[in-house]
């Protein structure tokens, strides 16, 4: 094996760091956008065709650009935000641009599952739009939201593997540079095994939390 234990641990840390940080930032962007996508649609709480259409189209555009292209395309922006266009921190910017719109869609989907009758009941009891969103929509969708966000985290783990292209490091980078390009099968198997365990762990945790929050 051409790598030692510390390199693998470092790569694992980079993966966790990229995934974790980009997830938090993506959630900050995706949650409000997801809520807006729901409440501005026709016949909903704060119906607003213009806002909905713009959001809808912009999100679709970001969602249709392949991650590897997106990563390169926003390099100038990355440089403004992080000060550099290479490295782990620099990889977080494109990851957020990738996962933010994705999370917005996932959240939209979960919130749309909430029974319209519940919203009607909330309106009938004199709830304000903010109260409806935070006391009715989100609590009722919470279990489904947790599962949706689990999907987003797993997606981010996958996407972060490509961050090697801009020197982001991480397990995926290790697998490509040592396992694939230098034919080190053991490194390849090891990194993939760690990723498998990681994804399994995240998914199990997500399932558990989703059950926990079903009733609050």
């Amino acid at each position: 094996m051409q790598v030692d234990q510390s390199q693998i641990l470092e790569a694992l840390w980079e993966t966790l760091y990229m995934t974790g940080a980009s997830f938090v930032f993506s959630l900050f962007i995706g949650l409000p956008l997801g809520i807006l996508l729901v409440v501005t649609r026709k016949g909903h709480l704060l119906e607003n065709e213009a806002v909905f259409n713009v959001l809808n189209i912009v999100i679709n555009i970001f969602r249709s650009v392949p991650f590897i292209i997106l990563m390169v395309a926003i390099i100038p922006l990355t440089r403004i935000i992080v000060g550099t266009s290479i490295g782990t921190a620099a990889a977080i910017v494109p990851l957020v641009f990738y996962a933010g719109p994705y999370i917005a869609r996932l959240i939209e989907n979960s919130l749309l599952e909430v029974d319209k009758g519940v919203i009607e009941a909330a309106q009938a009891m004199g709830a304000s739009p903010g109260q409806i969103i935070f006391r009715f929509l989100i609590p009722e969708a919470l279990s489904s939201l947790v599962l949706a966000l689990t999907i987003a985290i797993v997606g981010l783990i996958g996407a972060s593997a490509m961050a090697g292209a801009i020197g982001g490091g991480g397990l995926g980078d290790l697998a490509i540079t040592y396992g694939y390009q230098r034919f080190d099968t053991l490194v390849m198997l090891l990194t993939v095994a760690i990723l498998v365990v990681l994804v399994q762990g995240v998914q199990s945790l997500g399932n558990l939390m989703s059950r926990r929050v079903r009733r609050s």
Binding site: D115, G117, V118, E120, A121, Q123, A124, M125, G126, A127, S128, Q131, R135, F136, P139, E140, L142, S143, V213, R214, R215, S216
Partner: protein, 343 residues
């Protein structure tokens, strides 16, 4: 008090216009239980939703205690909604929250202190008969229990008006009865005005004081439940009345009528209120040398007033029969001959 004044509601989808409400004029007096009945698509649902502005009338006005709330600010509208409770066919409870939390919700929204909320929720749970269910979740309850929770939630803010949107349509007959009893208690004990919509005439008969029949967005008939049931005018109203008070003659009876060739004429006798107490049959039989034979009939109660409908065969001389009929009519009992071909 709720007043509908020339209320119209038109939905536009593409180039098509759907007129859900076509000029509704109705007045629901304070303390009344007012029922609106109609087949699906008649506009009931739109009508009830104009009261708390879940639907805005396209034209016309809805006045709540004399005030047109559609002219108010969003905040004032929300305040008014707290005075108008609403319950739903599918209950619309929060499945992620306990029974206690569900009932507390309107109070939480109004930022009521916690101790006050706990006291009020306990009182409401007691009132709807579910004091031991506070910690359960809606999916652990039966339909009837869920509707009781819905009712308790609607009453949390001490509203003066309760809107019932097909509140018993998803329940079995026995549960329906118990929910209707509860609604009547709410009306009597708290003097809450109730406006309900339904497609079940049984619900109207059971608890309503007044009824309006809705068809294609228009009120085709309205009045006290007693008037409408005992003397329905419109064909649709007659169908609804017939659905709970069958006055159609059975086939065997029609066969018999067809064969008697008018030798023993058959009359439909409708008596109401005080006339029920009178033994008119035996009196007529004694006074006029007639034999009276009841072929079919039912007696029921509308708004606490007895109401009867009998099909009676008169056997005797024609002159005697005519005198007898005059005497019966004199007692404010309606009599009409049953046509031999018709029912």
């Amino acid at each position: 008090m709720i007043q509908f004044e020339a209320v119209k509601k038109t939905y536009v989808s593409g180039k098509q216009q759907v007129h859900a409400l076509n000029g509704i004029d109705l007045t629901v007096e304070t303390g009344e239980i007012y029922g609106v009945i109609g087949f699906s698509g008649a506009g009931k649902s739109s009508l009830i939703r104009t009261v708390n502005l879940l639907e805005r009338p396209s034209t016309g006005r809805v006045l709540i205690h004399g005030e047109d709330i559609s002219t108010l600010s969003a905040r004032k509208i929300r305040d008014t909604r707290k005075d108008i409770g609403m319950i739903f066919q599918h209950f619309n409870l929060l499945n992620s929250k306990t029974v206690h939390h569900n009932i507390a919700m309107p109070l939480i929204l109004a930022k009521t202190p916690k101790a006050e909320i706990d006291r009020k929720v306990a009182e409401l749970l007691e009132f709807v008969g579910l004091a031991d269910q506070a910690k359960k979740y809606p999916d652990q309850l039966s339909g009837g229990q869920k509707q009781r929770i819905g009712i308790a939630r609607a009453l949390a803010t001490n509203p003066s008006i309760l809107l019932c949107d097909e509140a018993t349509s998803a329940l079995d007959p026995q549960t329906t009865q118990s929910i209707l009893d509860l609604l009547r208690r709410i009306n009597q004990e708290y003097n809450i005005t109730i406006l309900l919509i339904t497609h079940e005439m049984g619900v109207i008969r059971e608890i309503c004081d007044k009824v309006a029949v809705l068809e294609e967005g228009r009120v085709i008939e309205q009045g006290s439940v007693f008037e409408v049931f005992s003397n329905p005018q419109h064909a649709t109203t007659k169908r609804f009345v017939r659905s709970v008070m069958n006055d159609e003659l059975p086939d065997s009876l029609l066969e018999q009528i067809r064969h008697n060739d008018g030798t023993r004429p058959i009359y439909r006798v409708q008596f109401t209120g005080n006339s029920v107490g009178q033994p008119f049959m035996s009196r007529v039989s004694r006074e006029f040398q007639l034999d009276l034979n009841v072929l079919f009939g039912n007696i029921t109660e509308l708004q606490g007033i007895p109401y009867g409908n009998l099909i009676v065969e008169f056997d005797g001389a024609h002159a005697e029969i005519d005198r007898a009929l005059a005497s019966i009519r004199n007692d404010n009992i309606q009599v009409e001959e049953v046509q031999q071909h018709a029912g």
